[in-house]
């Protein structure tokens, strides 16, 4: 029994080492790609491109559910994006608050009957009306019955006029040149790019006014700060590398640009479960590979979108449980069919297996492995050295990966230019392994339990007005 516990514990430890090793490989790809990205972006003239006739028009879709506090500023800043031709389509998903009214009053919109659904579209909940004002010719407000975020995006797709769509969370702020940066990437190869994701950064702590981040600052609270370094690691260390081998499995729902025709071909966004942003990417991979079409799904780290991170355990927990639930659903629905199938290339051989074995199933291995090691230590106190060594390796390896991501940030972006910010990020990168990571794994596990119990609520997400945050900063 004792040996069995030890053997399983060691197995779990190796499992963690393998995760980290794969991640290490991905980071190497990230480094390979970041040098290219730096050359491309440093020498591009985005100001000039933002007025060019040769940039494709983009429809920006903004699903909004109870966003009355932030929606006005966000729409204003979206309208002011530096881009040649874009339209902003706000989809009010049957909000219980004054989301619609705020916009109608601010922009003096008037009601129009919804146009009948044409072919080549996706079914959605009933659209009650469209609001528009010729004085703001690139703003539309769609008012519809509640149907969830995916449903709102689909309604936006049906209404949109342009062949590229961009999905944006109503609580995030795009940088002025974010859209033009992604579009430049897209124009490198308009035939093959089907989706390009933007970089998501945490706005807590930043100075915000006029719907724009004026000064980038690190958050002062614990949880947002941990999420800042976590996002840096996931986006810069992870997604750049995955995109380098065309194995990106997710384009963040907060900000991404898609080819509308392919999104419609794969049936639009899937409702009913969270994780629709990952779902659409897996479906796109699958569709393109099934039809043997050349394609690329890319990540554009210099196109930045700022978002509010949850700052309480309760809200963060409900977000992570939701992610866990969505991830499990996606893997069962889409991932299982692509697992280890040669025709799905990198997706089939690497991305999907990695996600199933090392992401979706990780709580089970980690929790049981941890328990068995604890059990073993209780039975035989002399074995603690092995346990300690493995734990140390785990932390050091993880820290190394975190540092790698930080290095990418410092090399290419340096959004937080103060020296003390750098040391703060290093400190939190290490701190992440003492409690926060474990909590994340536990939340994912609880998310799976929710899934099994068919608890399918969206959970709580409270918003604060950007302006309030500004006041806090001033105080």
């Amino acid at each position: 029994m004792r040996d069995l516990l030890l053997a399983y514990g060691i197995f779990a430890m190796y499992y963690v080492v393998v995760i980290n090793t794969i991640y290490f490989g991905i980071i190497l790809f990230s480094f390979r790609k970041i040098t290219r990205i730096m050359k491309e972006t440093f020498y591009s003239k985005y100001d000039f491109l933002s007025g060019s006739k040769h940039m494709p028009p983009i429809s920006i879709l903004v699903p909004a559910f109870n966003e009355e506090l932030t929606i006005k500023e966000n729409v204003q800043s979206l309208l002011a994006l530096h881009y040649p031709t874009h339209e902003v389509i706000v989809v009010n998903d049957g909000s219980g608050d004054d989301t619609s009214k705020v916009l109608i009053d601010e922009f003096r919109l008037s009601y129009y009957k919804p146009t009948p659904i044409e072919h080549n579209t996706v079914a959605t909940a009933e659209v009650k009306g469209v609001y528009y004002n010729p004085e703001f010719p690139n703003l539309y407000l769609i008012d519809k019955e509640n149907g969830g975020k995916a449903d709102s995006l689909n309604a936006g797709i049906n209404f949109s006029h342009y062949s590229l769509i961009s999905s944006i969370d109503a609580d995030s702020l795009l940088e002025n040149d974010a859209l033009i940066r992604i579009a430049r990437k897209y124009m490198e190869n308009p035939d093959e790019y089907v989706a390009i994701g933007g970089n998501v950064r945490i706005a807590n702590g930043c100075k915000i006014s006029n719907g724009m981040v004026q000064k980038a600052r690190l958050p002062r609270k614990l949880l947002p700060m941990l999420q800042t370094v976590e996002y840096l690691k996931a986006f810069l260390g992870g997604r750049i590398g995955w995109s380098d081998i065309n194995g990106l499995i997710i384009v963040s729902g907060a900000f991404g640009v898609f080819r509308k025709d392919y999104v419609v071909k794969v049936g639009g966004y899937r409702g009913g479960y969270p994780g629709e942003d990952m779902n659409i990417i897996i479906k796109l991979h699958r569709y393109m590979l099934d039809n043997k079409l050349p394609y690329k799904i890319d990540f554009c780290p210099d196109a930045v979108c700022w978002t509010q991170a949850p700052d309480t355990f309760k809200i963060l927990g409900s977000q992570r449980k939701r992610w866990g639930r969505g991830n499990l659903k996606n893997m069962m629905e889409e991932g299982a069919g692509m697992f280890m199938r040669p025709r799905y290339k990198i997706m089939g051989w690497l991305t999907i297996p990695y996600n199933i074995i090392f992401e979706t199933l990780s709580p089970y291995f980690r929790i049981t492995g941890f328990l068995s090691l604890v059990g073993y230590s209780l039975v035989d106190m002399t074995g603690w050295k092995i346990v300690a060594v493995f734990m140390l390796i785990n932390v050091l390896y993880g820290t190394l990966l975190g540092m790698g991501s930080l290095l990418i940030e410092e090399l290419a972006f340096r959004r937080f230019p103060r020296i003390r910010d750098y040391f703060k990020m290093v400190f939190y990168t290490i701190l992440m392994f003492f409690g926060y990571r474990q909590l994340g794994i536990l939340w994912r596990f609880l998310g799976h339990i929710d899934f099994m119990r068919k608890n399918n609520s969206w959970g709580t997400m409270t918003r604060t007005s950007w302006n309030d945050e500004e006041k806090d900063e001033a105080a």
Partner: protein, 272 residues
């Protein structure tokens, strides 16, 4: 020059007098107050002032549309005008008629253009209606500048602002700058410049909204500023749309300073 059409009855009725003072180089004081009055109360104000300061001749006019009371004092300096305004304020306070601020100005101490000074004072009162019930001396800085043409440059690109700002300053323009639409609008309300040079790609509020708001302010205050768009946007749709908004010029970047200056000259000097 910022031309103001005489829509306010105060401007109409004082026009002749101001013209006379300026032509004969005699000093005069102007007091305007944001107040609600009716004919009997105007009469009693007149009586009150005649009793308090019998030596001073004055003209009075009330613009009921904008709720502005105007007083023109004969042959006095700024100090006395301000002193006189205290009597007016006493009366208005006593009757509880004052709803906003009072502005005092003097020719030639505040401006050497008497008529324009009055127009600007009224503009200021109409545009930013302050609630403090205080007496304020008209800021002569803005008026003195009217000898030269003033330009407001709004662009997010600081290198453009520096380049263009320095160039125009050397050419004798008064230059004001703003880096986003919101700040630009605040500056505009304060300065009412002769010319606005703006990018369409702005932050805070977009360029179209910025131009639209300027036109609204112009309409309210009967002012007029020329707007020149200097932008990265090369699309025909943008050009069409900006001209529909009433913009006078559309220049795309990269641009030539010589050409730009020539176009500016055409816009602001024709109006003198």
């Amino acid at each position: 020059m910022t031309e103001t059409h005489a829509s306010s009855s105060i401007r109409q009725s004082f026009k002749q007098f101001l013209h006379y003072y300026q032509a004969s180089n005699l000093p005069c004081g102007v007091i305007i107050a944001h107040a609600t009055l009716d004919q009997p109360s105007i009469n009693s104000l007149k009586a009150h002032l005649e009793k308090e300061e019998p030596a001073t001749a004055f003209q009075i006019n009330y613009d009921a549309q904008n709720n502005i009371l105007g007083l023109l004092l004969d042959d006095c300096n700024l100090g006395y005008t301000h002193f006189y305004a205290l009597h007016v304020k006493d009366f208005l306070d006593g009757e509880d008629r004052l709803i906003g601020e009072m502005i005092v100005g003097n020719f030639p101490e505040n401006s050497d253009q008497a008529e324009q000074m009055l127009s600007r004072m009224i503009n200021e009162m109409v545009i930013d209606q302050r609630n403090q019930q205080e007496i304020r001396v008209f800021d002569n800085q803005t008026i003195k500048k009217t000898e030269k043409n003033s330009v407001l440059i709004v662009d997010h690109d600081t290198s453009i602002i520096h380049l263009l700002g320095n160039y125009l300053q050397r050419k004798g323009y008064i230059v004001h700058v703003a880096t986003d639409g919101k700040k630009g609008l605040e500056q505009y309300k304060k300065l009412l410049p002769d010319l606005v040079i703006t990018e369409i790609n702005l932050s805070g509020i977009g360029g179209y909204q910025f131009i639209h708001e300027i036109k609204n302010i112009d309409k309210q205050s009967n002012g007029h500023s020329e707007i020149m768009v200097l932008t990265n946007k090369q699309l025909e749709d943008d050009i069409k749309r900006t001209f529909e908004y009433g913009v006078a010029e559309y220049i795309t970047k990269p641009f030539s300073l010589i050409e730009l200056e020539a176009r500016i000259k055409r816009l602001v000097e024709v109006m003198e």
